[in-house]
Subunit: 223 residues, 2 copies
DNA sequence: TAATTGTACTTTGTATACAAAAAATGATTG
DNA sequence: CAATCATTTTTTGTATACAAAGTACAATTA
């Protein structure tokens, strides 16, 4: 499939995924020769991939020392979520105005599919259904720049998303929020759509921050 | 000053500036050897800089053909401004809650400085005063991610900003809007601050879109 | 023993080399 | 004269080479 992508893009995708899934841990150094050997390419594509990761904020560069996986701080996550809150609300509002009949149908289906997914109690399935639902809304805005920005911001929390989805106590309210968002969008109620989208992020934030604190405590105890 | 930056970053900054100022025109190819000779470096730093420009959206890659300066379409600009509208409103709201006494002082000063700048009728001076005013607000949010995103989005319109500032008929309303934004923020009136910030972008949008249509007409007439 | 300095080893930063694809040129043929 | 195909040139994509900065470790000295 990706056989015809330039190696730099293959490497970029590979490294990005490794960082997002936690396979490469925050603070870990990305050493070029090591990665080159591991991925069976030369240093050139590795370096070019790192330049993109750098701009995306997934790695930070230390001069003459190379790249390391960016640390995720509680402050950093709060900042990301604060922006996402505004952008998700914007998405919901724009979708109210611009969603097509066809997209409305798919959104309804995705909303139902999400409810069914929660009943499986399988976090992977639920996460996929969740992404699908929100993707339809984001696409319905017809704003490519917005799509790109939200994807990038979501990325930063990939690791924590999963834990959030696992919390079964939240499932009912998640389903409920999705349903309200769906209804508001098809009925064109911008205010309610935006407000619920914000609430949706607020709930995620609480869960993720709890998660982070836990990890930090564990890290501190290790020392 | 930048003597100790890696060459790739020097090249990145140079190329970015060249694109934003219009020195490198939309559609123009970025050929590596040519740029390398022109800037007195090898292809390696050039390529790494291009990878960053690529992710920033300032150039687009065509496989096996290299990079060219991204075209700016009316749709693309509308998309950018739609996002900025939301983010600038967010900035204004956050600033209401978080601005420090010291920043309030600087904002007042910047607001007055902007008014004085308009009286010079010198677009460069006005543009600088405008940036300074808005920078204080953005910084007052304390959200680094937001700062970075807004900077990146502003960048995309760099070329048009200037023309917008030149329109002297708008100066009075610009000064007025700044004053309202300043007053709303120091008095903590989030709603009014956000609404005025949105209005501020709307006015820019009208002016910039007019500008773009003009350019496109001229381009069409040439053929 | 602790600190410091010198040396060997890594690792990055930059330049160059080489292969393969695309573009341009020109020759040949209908 | 036009069109097509071969050939040359240009340009990208990838690998490698080399220099300089950084790091680690050991030996030496206070």
């Amino acid at each position: 499939m990706d056989e015809f992508l330039p190696l730099r893009d293959v490497v970029f995708n590979t490294l990005r995924k490794a960082i997002l899934t936690g396979e490469l841990k925050p603070g870990e150094r990305l050493m070029e020769i090591h990665l080159a050997n591991r991925l069976g390419v030369s240093r050139t594509p590795i370096r070019e991939a790192i330049r993109k990761l750098e701009l995306e904020g997934l790695v930070i560069m230390i001069p003459r020392r190379g790249a390391e996986v960016a640390q995720i701080t509680e402050k950093g996550l709060k900042d990301v979520l604060e922006v996402r809150r505004a952008l998700d609300a914007l998405c919901a509002e724009l979708a109210c105005d611009r969603i097509t009949e066809e997209e409305q149908g798919r959104l309804k289906e995705a909303c139902g599919a999400f409810e069914r997914a929660t009943r499986t109690k399988d976090a992977t399935i639920i996460a996929k259904a969740d992404v699908k639902f929100h993707d339809i809304i984001i696409q319905a805005t017809g704003n490519q720049r917005l799509v790109q920005l939200i994807n990038n911001l979501s990325e930063q929390m990939y690791r924590y998303r999963f834990e959030y989805i696992k919390d079964e106590n939240r499932h009912d309210s998640l389903v409920n929020e999705h349903r309200i968002i769906y209804q508001s969008i098809v009925s064109g109620d911008k205010k309610r759509a935006a407000e619920t989208a914000r609430l949706h992020i607020d709930n995620q934030e609480k869960s993720i921050i709890r998660q982070i604190r836990l990890e930090q405590e564990q890290a501190a105890r290790k020392k």
